[in-house]
């Protein structure tokens, strides 16, 4: 059963000069199609990976999936509800927001430097009215769930390493008890050894909590161990979509082949995507 459905998802950006400048210079409007008619679906409890080089539109899809950006055309629905539907009533929208969370790329910019970790983790609790009256206990629980200690709640983000900050980011995503988490290159800013720890944490949480992931990355090595299904993006178009094992064994699209050749040697047999 699929929980996330993208149908004909398209996003165009208007990069034109202001109207007055256009009139004076006789330039045409310049429109960039960042995401072009992309469709995919993600089954509950699995990981779907979107792979592509920078500028391929993968982060734009992530921002549309969480409702930070409205699609120009097409829809993305979570359990059949469209977050970008203007007719959606506020209560349903809030309820849906709670179920979708995001782990960001930069462990340095994603945590407010002036807030203590405890306050960062408690904010979603307040926003969604969760764990009322026992926020402190819930924050401690969340910290332990991602392998940090309860005393870390009193510290500021700058007192942690990149990997630890990414754990805090994951804990914040978990705070609202979501079903679906979008991971936007969560390990690209980390050392290889730390990358593995964060990936293992994400996998463990998926097993324990039955989470569904949309995993955005340019790194095929990361994808091999995480994803059940992979979509390859090039210039905003989905050029290939296959199960992980099949894709590594027999890529169909020349662009996918190029990406695979560019990546360090992998052993497709050891791919254990869920």
């Amino acid at each position: 059963m699929s929980i996330v459905e993208a149908r004909g998802l398209t996003r165009r950006f208007d990069l034109s000069d202001p109207w007055v400048v256009r009139m004076l210079t006789f330039r045409k409007k310049r429109i960039l199609t960042a995401v072009d008619d992309v469709s995919f679906s993600i089954e509950k409890g699995t990981t779907y990976a979107l792979v592509g080089e920078s500028g391929s539109g993968k982060s734009t899809i992530a921002r549309m999936a969480v409702g930070l950006l409205a699609p120009s055309a097409g829809t993305i629905t979570i359990d059949g509800t469209n977050l970008n539907d203007p007719a959606l009533d506020p209560a349903t929208r809030t309820a849906l927001r709670r179920r979708i969370q995001m782990v960001f790329q930069s462990p340095y910019a994603s945590l407010n430097p002036r807030w203590r970790v405890g306050a960062i983790l408690a904010e979603p609790l307040h926003a969604f009215g969760l764990a009322a009256g026992r926020e402190t206990a819930r924050v401690a629980e969340l910290l332990e769930q991602v392998g940090l200690s309860e005393t870390d709640a009193r510290r500021f983000p700058h007192e942690f390493s990149g990997g630890q900050r990414q754990r805090i980011s994951i804990a914040r995503a978990l705070a609202s008890e979501p079903d679906f988490i979008i991971c936007d290159e969560p390990t690209s800013a980390l050392d290889v050894s730390v990358q593995a720890q964060v990936l293992n944490l994400l996998k463990r949480l998926q097993r324990e909590l039955g989470l569904t992931y949309l995993f955005i990355t340019h790194d095929l090595a990361v994808v091999a161990t995480m994803a059940r299904r992979i979509g390859v993006l090039q210039h905003g178009k989905l050029v290939e979509e296959q199960d992980t094992i099949a894709l590594f064994a027999a890529p169909r699209d020349p662009y996918t082949k190029m990406l695979l050749d560019a990546a360090p040697r992998l052993h497709p047999a050891s791919a254990t995507g869920r």
């Binding site: 921002r63 979708i100 407010n112 914040r172």
Partner: protein, 301 residues
């Protein structure tokens, strides 16, 4: 507290004699302004306590008619200059600090709004700011002061003179705050912690106030200190020109204005002491502001 005692901030401070002296001067001046009622030997605003016979007494010399001695001499009305300076300092500092507070509140709010909202809101706010900075701020202050006094009924003009002064100086100094905060806001709003806040459904007001504001306040402190020196001088200038503090509540600028009438007739002290006080105050605040800017900006080190 322990963290503060071990900070670079305090270390830098202890290594800069100029800053220590400026800080001491500012502290002494603020204290004597606040405690003017206790320290001052006479109340310069009590007409009953004034003796015209004491007029133009030179510093540290007994008056030829009454035999009274005044530290810094007296002015034309027989007012003790030392007391008048203490009370004048109080008016100057109060007007300066309040004007900065007003300019800061206005500038930070508008800067946050312009930076976060962008688009036409940003355009309107920043174009107004651009137009305003093409005029010298003292002219803006005089304009606002004149217009406001024109609107007020004559009976309330003197009563509200100080408030009008604060508003006119405050409104003439907000641009610097708004520009700095707008720039910082545009950087901060693209960061992922703001996206995370939007994800959980927080509105723009909450995001600006709770998330962005604490992250853009650093440079505001520095600008506030430097603007304080400007505001004190602006107030003195306005009062010197006779459009500021009323003669019943003289600030340092009013005292200098009184003194300049007698500069060439030999009564130099009436001008010199208030002017020296103003100079020391403005210079110390400015030096403190410069030091703060250098210390809090790691790129200048």
């Amino acid at each position: 507290m322990k963290r503060f005692l071990q900070s670079d901030f305090l270390y830098d401070f202890s290594r800069s004699p100029v800053t220590i002296v400026s800080f001491a001067v500012v502290v002494v001046m603020v204290l004597s302004a606040v405690l003017a009622g206790v320290i001052a030997p006479t109340d310069p605003f009590d007409p009953a306590g004034l003796d015209l016979m004491n007029g133009f007494t030179p510093p540290m010399t007994p008056n030829e008619f009454t035999g009274e001695t005044f530290w810094l001499g007296t002015d034309d009305q027989g007012r003790d200059l030392f007391s008048a300076i203490l009370y004048g300092l109080r008016v100057s500092l109060f007007v300066g600090a309040s004007a900065v507070l007003l300019a800061m509140t206005l500038g930070v709010s508008l800067g946050l709004l312009a930076g976060y909202a962008g688009g036409w809101v940003d355009t309107i706010i920043m174009r107004i700011a651009d137009i305003q900075v093409t005029f010298p701020s003292i002219l803006i202050a005089m304009l606002i002061f004149g217009v406001t006094r024109g609107i007020l009924p004559p009976a309330q003009r003197d009563e509200l003179a100080i408030a009008v002064l604060i508003v006119s100086i405050g409104l003439s100094e907000w641009v610097q705050f708004a520009r700095t905060v707008r720039g910082a806001t545009m950087v901060e709003k693209e960061k992922e912690y703001v996206a995370a806040a939007r994800l959980i459904g927080l509105g723009p007001g909450q995001i600006m106030r709770r998330h962005i504001l604490p992250n853009v306040l650093g440079p505001v402190l520095v600008i506030a200190t430097i603007t304080l020196a400007l505001a004190i001088i602006a107030e003195a200038t306005l009062s010197f020109l006779g459009v500021g503090a009323p003669p019943t509540e003289p600030s340092l600028g009013t005292l200098i204005n009184i003194g300049q009438d007698y500069l060439f007739s030999g009564e130099w002290w009436i001008l010199l002491f208030p002017a020296a006080t103003l100079l020391m105050l403005a210079l110390s605040v400015n030096l403190l502001g410069d030091w703060l800017r250098d210390t809090l900006n790691p790129r200048l080190k």
